[in-house]
Symmetry: C2
Subunit: 540 residues, 2 copies
């Protein structure tokens, strides 16, 4: 076979040749921009040209700090197009971590949305490797700024060659991108994506049994482009000639619903909170969402009730996905097998509320206390993954050895597997409660608690116990209107019929709020400290 390398620039070249007329619909600060792939490709080549002019060399990193819009999309291809590495910086990191990741990656140039200028004016002096800032803005002129070596994105592009050639001798194993994932302790950890990894992941997104993305789709990535490359959708969409709808910086549930209706979006991708918000919007006002063939939901587990609401109330297929920064991210999808569509509806929702089974191309092992676990939907084990779009290390980071062992990624997620091969996340390894030699899933208890009509949110953590090693404690926030009206005894009575006795929490603590991470996940470490203080136990 020909030694043809799988590279990112070849994907843009396909759009340029075959999908000239297809559009990228990008919501900016002054309305909606509509550019076709012929224009996008020419602008991408101009940017490649100017990055080269500004001295970016093969293998060097170029950072982006931006929302979902067409300029960010151009950067996705222009940077790997000259053999450089696209570093999408998570804008939700705290400033100290932002400085850390930019310096750790040694970003040479930063492409920054104008709304973030004040931040960079503050941290500029801590970024010794950055040689220039390119400001992505809808304004015709550069805003006033104290930043040095600052360029106006569109003005810079005007100087670039619209036919500038992408590199054609890239080895598919060269780096094309890097994302940092926030660690529970310490600094964020970098994950490098190769051209090959991005290409194969895009194929997977385009497979009927994977993301099923196609030219016919009108895809709206609500998941941010600074978050695992918006799940790789921008790469795959351009390659396939998919129409892209970019919601820009200031999206609300109402705005998303309006875009779905007006642009006839067929596929939208985002985290559960996005879909919860959209659900409320759809319930409050009538929108035409008949164009949607699926919403893709990942980032954290969505409860069965959301799956049901989308499918039953609005006839919108809801596809659960599982992945992480280390896995590009798509590895598991809750797509029903053909013969499962004959099950009764409730059973179907049970499967759909699980994370799903492996997409073609990825392998797994689930390892419990005594080796690989049975596929019995009961036995818990840590999920191990292996595949051509899964990282093999953290970028220049000693923590590599914690997660990558013997050719497998240790995900830190504890799962069960049913006989169909569907995995269900029951916990993070570190949040699992080890009681009397058995494992208790904090997530299962939390889901049960949050199904109570009076409970707004709940989180379960372990406290040390002399006899049992650890025991679960439930922290509960009541809804407005239920405060003072739901007692510990009520909550226990609600849980008791649902679990084995030894699973039940030893105590319920009512709280005003549960501490959360920057991306809205429960911050269990902080919560556990609070709980230990509550019982006056020394933190261990």
């Amino acid at each position: 076979m020909m030694n043809v390398q799988l590279t990112v620039p070849s994907m843009m070249e396909r759009a340029e040749k075959f999908f000239k007329k297809k559009q990228v619909i990008s919501r900016g600060t002054k309305g909606i921009d509509r550019l076709n792939y012929e224009q996008i490709a020419a602008r991408t080549r101009r940017l490649s040209c100017m990055l080269h002019e500004l001295g970016v060399k093969r293998g060097e990193k170029v950072g982006t700090f931006a929302w979902n819009h067409h300029r960010h999309l151009e950067a996705y291809f222009a940077i790997p197009g000259i053999g450089a590495v696209l570093h999408t910086i998570n804008i939700r990191l705290d400033p100290q971590q932002i400085v850390y990741v930019i310096n750790h990656a040694k970003d040479k140039i930063l492409l920054v949305d104008d709304c973030f200028l004040p931040l960079f004016e503050k941290i500029e002096s801590h970024l010794p490797h950055v040689k220039a800032y390119i400001i992505m803005t809808d304004e015709p002129e550069l805003p006033e700024t104290t930043l040095k070596n600052c360029y106006h994105y569109d003005q810079l592009l005007e100087k670039g060659d619209p036919h500038y050639p992408f590199l054609h001798d890239i080895d598919e194993n060269e780096p094309a991108g890097i994302c940092y994932t926030s660690a529970t302790t310490g600094n964020p950890k970098g994950v490098v994506y190769s051209h090959r990894g991005i290409y194969l992941h895009s194929m997977s997104l385009g497979m009927a049994d994977g993301g099923s993305l196609s030219e016919a789709d009108i895809a709206m990535p609500v998941v941010p482009m600074f978050h695992v490359n918006a799940w790789g959708l921008p790469f795959a969409a351009v390659w396939l000639g998919t129409t892209l709808v970019m919601p820009g910086p200031f999206f609300t549930p109402q705005l998303l619903a309006e875009l779905i209706e007006s642009e006839k979006v067929t596929l939208a991708a985002g985290v559960p909170t996005i879909w919860l918000g959209l659900l409320k919007e759809l319930e409050s006002k009538k929108y035409d969402t008949s164009s949607l063939r699926a919403v893709l939901c990942g980032g954290s587990a969505a409860p069965k009730s959301i799956v049901k609401a989308f499918e039953e109330k609005f006839d919108i297929p809801f596809i659960h996905a599982y992945g992480m920064t280390e896995t590009s991210p798509l590895v598991v999808l809750s797509r029903l097998k053909s013969y499962q569509t004959n099950l009764d509806k409730e059973e179907q929702y049970d499967y759909k509320a699980k994370q799903g089974f492996l997409v073609p191309g990825v392998e797994m092992k689930v390892v419990g206390k005594d080796g690989e676990v049975d596929w019995d939907a009961q036995s818990m084990g840590e999920l191990l993954l292996r595949g051509p779009w899964i990282a093999s290390e953290y970028y220049e980071d000693e923590r590599t050895s914690e997660a990558f062992k013997g050719g497998w990624l240790y995900t830190g997620d504890v799962v069960t597997v049913d006989e169909e091969g569907f995995i269900k996340i029951v916990d993070r390894t570190k949040d699992l409660i080890k009681s009397g030699g058995e494992w208790i899933s904090s997530v299962d208890l939390e889901n049960a608690l949050m199904a109570h009509e009076g409970i707004f949110e709940a989180s379960v953590v372990a406290i040390p116990h002399e006899t049992w090693q650890e025991r679960p404690i439930a922290c509960v926030v009541l809804k407005e209107g239920y405060k003072e009206k739901v007692s510990k005894e009520d909550v226990m009575a609600f849980l008791t019929p649902q679990f084995a006795k030894w699973w039940l929490p030893d105590d319920i603590i009512f709280m005003e709020e549960i501490p959360k991470t920057s991306v809205g996940k429960f911050l269990k470490r902080a919560l556990r400290t609070q709980v230990l203080e509550h019982y006056e136990i020394n933190n261990v």
Copy 2:
């Protein structure tokens, strides 16, 4: 990213884990066998084990000489599973060529359908490399034979280990398969498929914008498994857990129609003559074909009338495909772009009757007399292809340099490209008629002729001409009932309004039959010799 290799055995392992219950439905000489993937995988491992026991080493070739059935499918995975090379021998080659390809590949073992025993008894003494024959049969015992070192397939499998491990250290660039393509002159030429090539081609078959094959499909490859690996469908189908329907050796249009109805086939793949036959059957008797989501048609161009008949009369989407042994084969599909579905029906059929545009992953150039041609649907040029599942050479063959130049495969097909990037084959380079410095497509003239109600088949060849270099001559076979009733003048009058004057054939020769190749294509070389003899011109 992890250095995970793309290999064939990993594809069977996926079916074995996730699609235990899904079936391979195989029509044999004694009725229909239904084996699920758990059984198929165990039998495949047994075969791997026994091939190893019989001394097959990594890199050595094992030949198959068989129709489409589950045993052949097992061989597809068992042979690459031990690092050996699957050589699917075209049963339609003449015995001399069969001897040539087996000796050229140095096949160590042959897996042969029992119906072909007499052939191998005759040629056995000419096959010095073959150490054993394994006979695939529905009979419980080996038929009487003079062949030495002969095994009964199922009896042999009983001795194998159903848990025999596939090789796990295969490099993706190692060979997994070899097919020989019949050459117009000389011996067949070998094309080697790597594990990587087969894997990526399978991904392409599974892409929504490619073959769109999925777990939900019930796929029937009518195209033989000895013909470019049945277009790669068996590999992709197993990997995706697709239900496979294998029509076995003795299929007729009636039998295909019955299988489509009884097994609820969703996707069937074959050459135009198969679909022409099926069409007649569907017109003559009522079948339920509502399960069919598409028929895939390749091998040679199908006329627009077939496309229309399938879609309009039977509501069966008809997808034209283009490829060749050298391209694995899928490279081009006539799938409409989303906005083309708004065209009027007749225009849609015009696009669907073309070969289509490139599937994701493949690149093309179309080179005419003066370099790359414009995409104007007029300018003709030779189609050049490049991609990770396209061969880079003929196996140990000096003719490599004729077709592989500068990193491109020269297909020998002359095409036009329209502004949407759809290619249309107008001729083979060698059949193109060069008249007065311009090119005339023999295929266009043939298609026009065959649209005449009285013409059964027609072929157009060039004869030398003093002034114009070459001129076209049409050879025509009339339908029964039209013989003696259609004159040269009638045919010319029929063609005249359709073509520029200088395209019109200089003469019409009525014939009883047009010489054909073993796979039913016009044998233009032989025809041209007949025509030259007809005019008493010396062959040049």
